[in-house]
Symmetry: D2
Subunit: 424 residues, 4 copies
Amino acid sequence: MLQEKVIAYRRDFHKYAESGWREFRTTAKIVEILRDLGYEVAFGKQVIHPPSVMGREPEEGIQQQMKRAVNQGGDSGIIEEMKGYTGAVATLETGRPGPVIALRFDIDSNDVIEREDEKHRPQKEGFRSVNEGMMHACGHDGHTAIGLGLAELLIKDKNRLSGTVKLIFQPAEEGVRGAKAMVDKGILEGVQYFLSGHLGFNLGTGKFAPKTEGFLSTTKIDAEFIGAGAHAGSNPEEGKNALLAAATAALNIHSIPPNSGGVTRVNVGVLDAGVGRNVIAPKASMKIETRGETAALNTYVYDKAVKIIESAAGMYDNRFNIKKMGEAITVSCDLKLAEWAKKTAEDLQDIDEIIELKHLGGSEDATFMMKAVQDQGGLATYLFFGANTAAGHHNEGFDFDEEVLMKGIHFYHAVIHTINQKHS
Amino acid sequence: MLQEKVIAYRRDFHKYAESGWREFRTTAKIVEILRDLGYEVAFGKQVIHPPSVMGREPEEGIQQQMKRAVNQGGDSGIIEEMKGYTGAVATLETGRPGPVIALRFDIDSNDVIEREDEKHRPQKEGFRSVNEGMMHACGHDGHTAIGLGLAELLIKDKNRLSGTVKLIFQPAEEGVRGAKAMVDKGILEGVQYFLSGHLGFNLGTGKFAPKTEGFLSTTKIDAEFIGAGAHAGSNPEEGKNALLAAATAALNIHSIPPNSGGVTRVNVGVLDAGVGRNVIAPKASMKIETRGETAALNTYVYDKAVKIIESAAGMYDNRFNIKKMGEAITVSCDLKLAEWAKKTAEDLQDIDEIIELKHLGGSEDATFMMKAVQDQGGLATYLFFGANTAAGHHNEGFDFDEEVLMKGIHFYHAVIHTINQKHS
Amino acid sequence: MLQEKVIAYRRDFHKYAESGWREFRTTAKIVEILRDLGYEVAFGKQVIHPPSVMGREPEEGIQQQMKRAVNQGGDSGIIEEMKGYTGAVATLETGRPGPVIALRFDIDSNDVIEREDEKHRPQKEGFRSVNEGMMHACGHDGHTAIGLGLAELLIKDKNRLSGTVKLIFQPAEEGVRGAKAMVDKGILEGVQYFLSGHLGFNLGTGKFAPKTEGFLSTTKIDAEFIGAGAHAGSNPEEGKNALLAAATAALNIHSIPPNSGGVTRVNVGVLDAGVGRNVIAPKASMKIETRGETAALNTYVYDKAVKIIESAAGMYDNRFNIKKMGEAITVSCDLKLAEWAKKTAEDLQDIDEIIELKHLGGSEDATFMMKAVQDQGGLATYLFFGANTAAGHHNEGFDFDEEVLMKGIHFYHAVIHTINQKHS
Amino acid sequence: MLQEKVIAYRRDFHKYAESGWREFRTTAKIVEILRDLGYEVAFGKQVIHPPSVMGREPEEGIQQQMKRAVNQGGDSGIIEEMKGYTGAVATLETGRPGPVIALRFDIDSNDVIEREDEKHRPQKEGFRSVNEGMMHACGHDGHTAIGLGLAELLIKDKNRLSGTVKLIFQPAEEGVRGAKAMVDKGILEGVQYFLSGHLGFNLGTGKFAPKTEGFLSTTKIDAEFIGAGAHAGSNPEEGKNALLAAATAALNIHSIPPNSGGVTRVNVGVLDAGVGRNVIAPKASMKIETRGETAALNTYVYDKAVKIIESAAGMYDNRFNIKKMGEAITVSCDLKLAEWAKKTAEDLQDIDEIIELKHLGGSEDATFMMKAVQDQGGLATYLFFGANTAAGHHNEGFDFDEEVLMKGIHFYHAVIHTINQKHS
């Protein structure tokens, strides 16, 4: 039964959770399953434009992750073929003229240590992450399973479809690091319809939103302060205190004023400074993100943050550097496509209630893909599939109602048919 | 030849560097060597008062370190006998009435990742630390070797000595965490003369200081802030930002005013906050030390730091806790004993120049031992043995001129004879 | 001619600008003019509920301002009758049954030093403020003149009107300090229709807005930090630094996170700390305002600000106190009354263009009056009368196109007739 | 009787307290009294080098102070002759060859509002300062009275003396703003012996210190931040917040690390920022002082403070400027002259106890005069005359035991004789 299969997929991905740019086992499994189904699959460096990659760890770490992936059952041949990059794109050519449709599924986990007690279902039922510090706490394991289940349905249904369907398995959505590198590789070229979606988000199982408003434009940066250490007791005057530079920057970044032009956000999420208690801290690093309702508003916050970092470094005679680690833009869903999606959902037994989503307040790098499609005259929308959850997204106790998996598969399947019919 | 032997000792300890409360292999080696020489040795829990132990890691980590120590050649029987605590005390009873003399050697390494290139002699000559993140960057490997070399000389010389000599091998001097637990166990009871010393400290090889002024009283604390995470884009109002609480605390702790009563110091050496870029930081931790020329001055700074931590936590609705991780006091060297040491040194070929040391600006928990001896009517002094060094203490490239080892041994040997003669 | 008269009124009020709770001469002039026209006028303590007064200076200062007002031509008898409180309410009873309409005009100046060069018309034409530090930089002198010109038209027109018209001359709108004390005195009781408005606001002369959206709920507070001074060179340890407490509070108040529930604002507009360069600052004061799109959002910011002040004071062992200095709420204009206003304006030659105003981003304490009227079943709206201005509101070079005065009078006159007709 | 006269002098100066560069009445009185005694007196611009003047208010204010001084009984002719500058130097030429001795008395008051209740003797006995905000809270009124009483004794004694005695009445010692301008005018040229001193300083009446150690080198600066205002509710993004720039600077200036080279001090004593509650603060100013045990240590702190100001301004896109407002250096008393002073004191009935003063922790611009004399081969010392005080120096309730006045006069008289004898 398909449902059992996709639940098994999801739990397997959950157990072997791999965070952004480390999804070697995940990608290998995806490739194996899709090939078995009969798909043509491009993957790894074939679907990634390396210069556009953001927030990928140094090569040495990548090598270790590849070894780990092989140890955890990833096919070593496939992994070798990836040439260090993750992600896959499967294409179904029906051989009949018709629309070019792309669906995107993100596959990476979070950097979270998963809850370990028995109240947490993945622990109790034996699929808690074996990779400490990597956990599917956002539901991308579910997205991946939906994509694979859908792939199976589509193959069986191939003769009733026309045009082309592309199934995109994107790495590194967390931190909005992966989509741009796929877009820049050209995988969206020719695509006329694009859909992606997310499960959960405080919507109960059975609810569905055919479009989304309020994506925030965002930039993710890492800042580094390089000062000079000194013995804090004997020679404090010789230090160039990077910890205080960073603390000053953090406070002032959070004081960036709001903007009458619209919503903005900024966060210094991580600050690590110093090497030892009795040493003036010689270095500090910060993980920062800026957001804005528009690109201009994001830039407004970003420019101020950079100025503050530069000044705080100067204040303590520190050097500094700033590295872009991720990026997403703001985009609008096409109402026409959203309307088709809504109609499709209304006709499905799987969906109980259709709702309107506003003010998301979050960011998604699917927006790069949506924009690429819109720029070439296509239509795009971003969906939400309700699912009861055991805890908030990104929480160590996150888990979701697996009923959502088949609902997602059924919706995607149906909407492809809808587009086939409506397309002219 | 003794010199070759002590150099070998030093390099062995250097290679298997163990930081505070983890010196299981080191202690086992010390016990083996001393027993072979014929000493009665107490060690581990026999010489440590657990309630006075500061800055020791959780039991789980200790168990792992014991396993590692055994794997690295530590005698498993001896290690088991330690009952989780490190350090040793060897006693030489001459059988003749005379002075009770104690010498103290600290044995722990730093938390430093050792330099790896060929310009660094330990790397080039194969004794770089195999324990990543633990390195003898302060010279305690040398102190330990001096203690063991001295033990050999004393045994051979036993018949020419009277009274008792205790050789104390103290764990966890870094962070001033270990001496108090030995004092509280009572190992200084009855001791009439106490000497300890340090090599290096910008004094070239051949220089010697018979006493020290300007120890700073110090307290080491870890502070933890516990706030609440929240998605920084969607629900910033739900967060209780521990990163900003800690940053505010750090800035204000460094603003604690100086004191007209004497030198004070404070340092927030380490600040780690947050879990992810897009999450309001739910937690933060800081490693802090306060110092003062007197206990009252240290308390002045300490009390202000605590108040600031408490207030900064309150400002962001955070909970907090503060844990004492180390402590040392200030003490004066006894001029009479220092004078004997000076005279002893003047008569040695090993010593080229005798100098006066002032304003140390650092802290030492040997001060607890000195005070314990002084409180029972004894005399104590703290020495410096000059040694050319390749880099500053605590630096990843630290190394020292091993000529200092025999100089130290010869001095201690000679000064025991001096005390034997002067004591009445 | 009425136009010349109201321009003369406006310039007289401009020249003798009086800021909030100091409008003794202004009130006396208003009372004189209205009485001469035949109005029954209540004023001073008769129209103010003292316990609800916010941000009024100490009695001593009030006494001095009363003396100044008399010196500047205010009727001493009237001023004495005020019993220390400013503001006036004139009532026109037509004797015929009909609607009870209230119009509100604010009369206070800003705390601004007026521009002194010849390019500034009030200077050139001799009506620059003679009261240094008090200047009509917001146009309330114009509002007052409009109210008085309207009073003259209404009296002449009395026989064509029915019901009751109340003309409210409100003190202390700047800082939103005065309206609540008039409401709490009960001057709005029985009022069925309420209108107030503002001139200028970047709308050119001839433009008109019949309603306003986006008032922000606001609270104005003064915070005081009381520490202890000490000689910064000799005894820094004895100080309790109020300057650093205030600086810490200011930075952290500006770091209060945004809220996904809607727009919030916070500002520490003024910070004064310390008494001398070489003294640890023993005291500091801050002027703060919080705002929110709803009362709950304003409270969210306010509560955090208070917590921060309390914690920052605690951090430096300071005492503190917080005093509410002003308050305004958010309210919606009644669309029905706004529609009548719009229709009225469309029929007037004075109005060239009718526009919709959104997202004001500011606060107004007329909102207390609007809410009082709405709570008893009445209708209320807040208007804008466009006027070219020489500089932004609150700027030292502010001046406005006096053409707006007759436009305002004509509109108010006409809208009263409209309400007379529509009321049933 | 001389004692009654000098007490009357002191109380007159106390009542008409004049702060730095405003001592017009004080100087006029000094000139009158000294001329009456028969002295040649240079004063005002004759004894001041204007380019070296620091911290003098704008000319306009000076003009007002001169008017005030005349209104308070200052001789208008003398005041006019001063040409805007205060201070005086009286020279006693004995006509006999001998030493050139200079004594210096500072004459300015503090910027303090004097205590007003009856427990404060100056209030009770009618000599509380009539100049609000100016108060002799440091005892310079006493220094001036001692100088004038001594002048009378010396004139009577002229025939028993040889050489030259210069009595220097220096303006603007508070804030260390005046001495340099007198030195640069050349008034110390040819001086071979220099003495100055201070009364009070926690030494009881009758105690005496013949020399001082531990003057701190100091620099006084005013920093100004120029940002841009904006309505905090409507357009917060347009502001350039000078208040936050200054707050950040203040916190980080107080975080400048101590120095192992010796005592340092820094204080932001005053911070004034902003123009109104609802405006992003467009400007801020700070009064700062840096100190160090040596000139190099003062420079260490000063350079860091400047860097912090510059960086904090940059952080908020503010312009800034820094103005030097005062300066004093560190200097050592000559032991030979101090010894003569000590011997002199031992022989006087007025002095009960001679003490040694260390670690002053304060600054004095007499140090410029001392250095000038030492640089030309002369000897200099700085004395302390004990006096019971009612409150600490610079406190609003400061008052001192007037017994110290005659003790000071007798000592200076006697030490001149001593120098006459010892000089060769």
